[in-house]
């Protein structure tokens, strides 16, 4: 089973939920941090790193000797990543989406593929818990291909927990697609509610069952719960604002370690998800 933890709004507690759920279900679970722009789960898991691998995406390399400047490559490219000006062909690898169109269309076979580094995929382990994350190279714009690389390392036929990035656009879709269940973490504020509605919309586009976790549940108002009632979204857990939780979080300490009663709560959460899938 794949469970993705998502939120719409950032900073609602996705990573807290993902890491504690994974730790509570260790060693059964595998945790993938797919928030590759700002991966944080490792700060709480503190894995012993086993492997770090640079991953890249193909971009065109033009053999100037063979190029006749016919311009067919520039014509097919939808992303303005290759242009021909007079007798010069220019590549902008940072704009390339790696479709291979220019290489396929070139009548002179003058284009081959090199690589643009997307970032790192790192794997490690804490006790029995297997951990994988992606780390987008700073100044690299495209996170979905790196998210897909992280997801390629998901163990087949086992429990996989995914920490998704915030938002509702392509990186989030890449982290939620083909999940069996999405846990949406929100806070009971107008910003939390507004972005929750967007996130629910995204989950529904994908047709995945979902449930809510309300974090800092006593700070704000009741509108998130009213919305959950109207939309038939089950509220699976509430985490109150507690200075001890905030302080533990600030130090990178896992809730299930600092307040052991949460271990059982996260296990119960998983049992409820199992019943719903």
């Amino acid at each position: 089973m794949i469970i993705s933890i998502a939120s719409g709004k950032g900073g609602t507690g996705k990573t807290t939920v993902a890491t504690n759920l994974a730790l509570a279900l260790s060693p059964e679970a595998q945790l993938l941090d797919c928030d590759v722009e700002e991966p944080n789960a490792h700060l709480f898991i503190q894995p012993q790193w086993e492997k770090s691998e640079a991953v890249s995406t193909p971009v065109p390399v033009v053999d100037e000797e063979k190029c006749t400047h016919c311009g067919k490559c520039a014509e097919i490219c939808q992303f303005k990543a290759i242009v021909v000006i007079g007798e010069t062909v220019l590549c902008f690898p940072e704009l390339c989406h790696s479709c291979g169109g220019c290489m396929l269309v070139c009548p002179e076979k003058a284009i081959s593929e090199g690589g643009r580094e997307l970032g790192l995929v790192e794997t490690g382990r804490r006790n029995g818990l297997e951990f994988v994350h992606g780390k987008l190279r700073v100044s690299e714009a495209m996170s979905p291909p790196l998210i897909k690389k992280v997801r390629e390392l998901a163990r087949p036929n086992s429990l996989v927990i995914i920490d998704a990035p915030p938002g509702t656009s392509c990186p989030v879709i890449a982290a939620m697609k083909d999940a069996d269940f999405v846990l949406l973490v929100t806070e009971p504020t107008p910003f939390g509610l507004h972005d929750l509605k967007l996130a629910v919309g995204a989950v529904r586009v994908l047709g995945i069952p979902c449930g809510l976790i309300i974090n800092r549940s006593d700070m704000g108002d009741d509108r998130v719960k009213e919305y959950a009632g109207e939309e038939d979204l089950p509220v699976l857990m509430e985490i109150p604002f507690d200075r001890r939780i905030a302080e533990a979080y600030s130090k990178g300490e896992a809730l299930v370690d600092v307040m052991p009663e949460w271990r059982e709560k996260f296990k119960a959460l998983y049992r409820r998800i199992q019943e719903m899938v």
């Binding site: 950032g10 609602t12 396929l104 100044s139 996170s143 938002g167 509702t168 910003f191 994908l206 600030s250």
Partner: protein, 292 residues
């Protein structure tokens, strides 16, 4: 004209709340929400929309089943596995590269433009605002961010306003890169947690990569004073100007619940004093920098 962009790396550190407070303090400005993916600033600014435009960007392949002979070439060439065995294109997987469109021997694939969102020019009680809404599960948020910022600039020129306050998205990827290019300065809002520290370093590196002057402030600093100090030291090492701290104060959430800035909610809150001080420092810093 100058543009301040507020970013954070980590989400939920208080970018939008702080920016709305600045909107109440600053004069002669346009407010711009560049977090088009999960835009929240309008919940405080409560804009009256004066102009609404649809945002079109990118294309998606569509197979005409009457022309398709199911030769399978498109499935072989597609690097996103976006075409199913029964020759349906999954619009969520389609990258819009047009390779299938170009090579289809039957010309059976159409390639219409996507409408992926809307953008708005509005009036608010704090002056004009440019904002947008990206459609759910849509792509090209970076392009919409660039568009919204261009429109904010145009509007500022038309109305002879000399400042743009831009609320940026979380992260360091495509929409963030689109939201900071050409800005006068960045303000990075972080929080005193390991995650906040970790993510602040990455946005500081991004700011350095694009050679943009960066300032940094810590929200909820008193949740971990030791961590706050460490973050400030790291920020200085990374070339950021450390300009202030804001204490944890439920007034921020209470004001948000009512759709108000903290100054409207409580004109004499302690947190308000800290925010005012930060704004004065930001303004002073902006005065020393050349317009973009």
């Amino acid at each position: 004209m100058k543009e301040l962009v507020v970013i954070s790396g980590k989400g939920g550190t208080g970018k939008t709340t702080l920016l709305s407070a600045f909107a109440a303090l600053a004069e002669n400005k346009v407010v711009c929400d560049a977090d088009v993916d999960a835009a929240d600033l309008h919940l405080i600014m409560i804009p009256k929309v004066r102009r609404c435009e649809s945002f079109q960007s990118g294309r998606t392949a569509m197979i005409d089943r009457d022309k398709c002979t199911e030769c399978g070439l498109c499935r072989d060439l597609c690097r996103w596995d976006a075409i199913s065995e029964d020759f349906q294109v999954d619009p969520l997987e389609c990258e819009g590269c047009g390779v299938c469109v170009h090579f289809c021997p039957e010309n059976a694939i159409e390639f219409p433009l996507n409408t992926c969102g809307e953008w708005f020019i509005s009036e608010t009680r704090f002056g004009p605002m440019v904002h947008a809404r990206l459609g759910i599960a849509e792509e090209n948020s970076g392009k919409l961010v660039s568009l919204v910022r261009q429109e904010a600039k145009k509007l500022a020129e038309e109305r002879k306003l000399d400042l743009i306050l831009t609320d940026g998205p979380p992260g360091v990827g495509c929409p963030v890169i689109a939201s900071i290019g050409g800005a006068t300065a960045l303000l990075i809002v972080t929080e005193p947690t390991l995650s906040g520290a970790h993510d602040m370093v990455r946005v500081a590196e991004l700011a350095a990569h694009f050679k943009l002057p960066g300032m940094m402030c810590i929200n909820k600093y008193d949740l971990n004073v030791e961590q706050s100090q460490k973050i400030e030291e790291t920020a200085v090492e990374k070339g950021l100007a450390v300009i202030g701290r804001i204490p944890f104060d439920p007034v921020f959430t209470k004001a948000m619940v009512q759709g108000k800035t903290i100054f409207e909610y409580d004109g004499s809150s302690e947190a308000g004093v800290w925010v005012r001080d930060i704004w004065q420092k930001v303004e002073a810093k902006l005065r020393t920098l050349n317009s973009a």
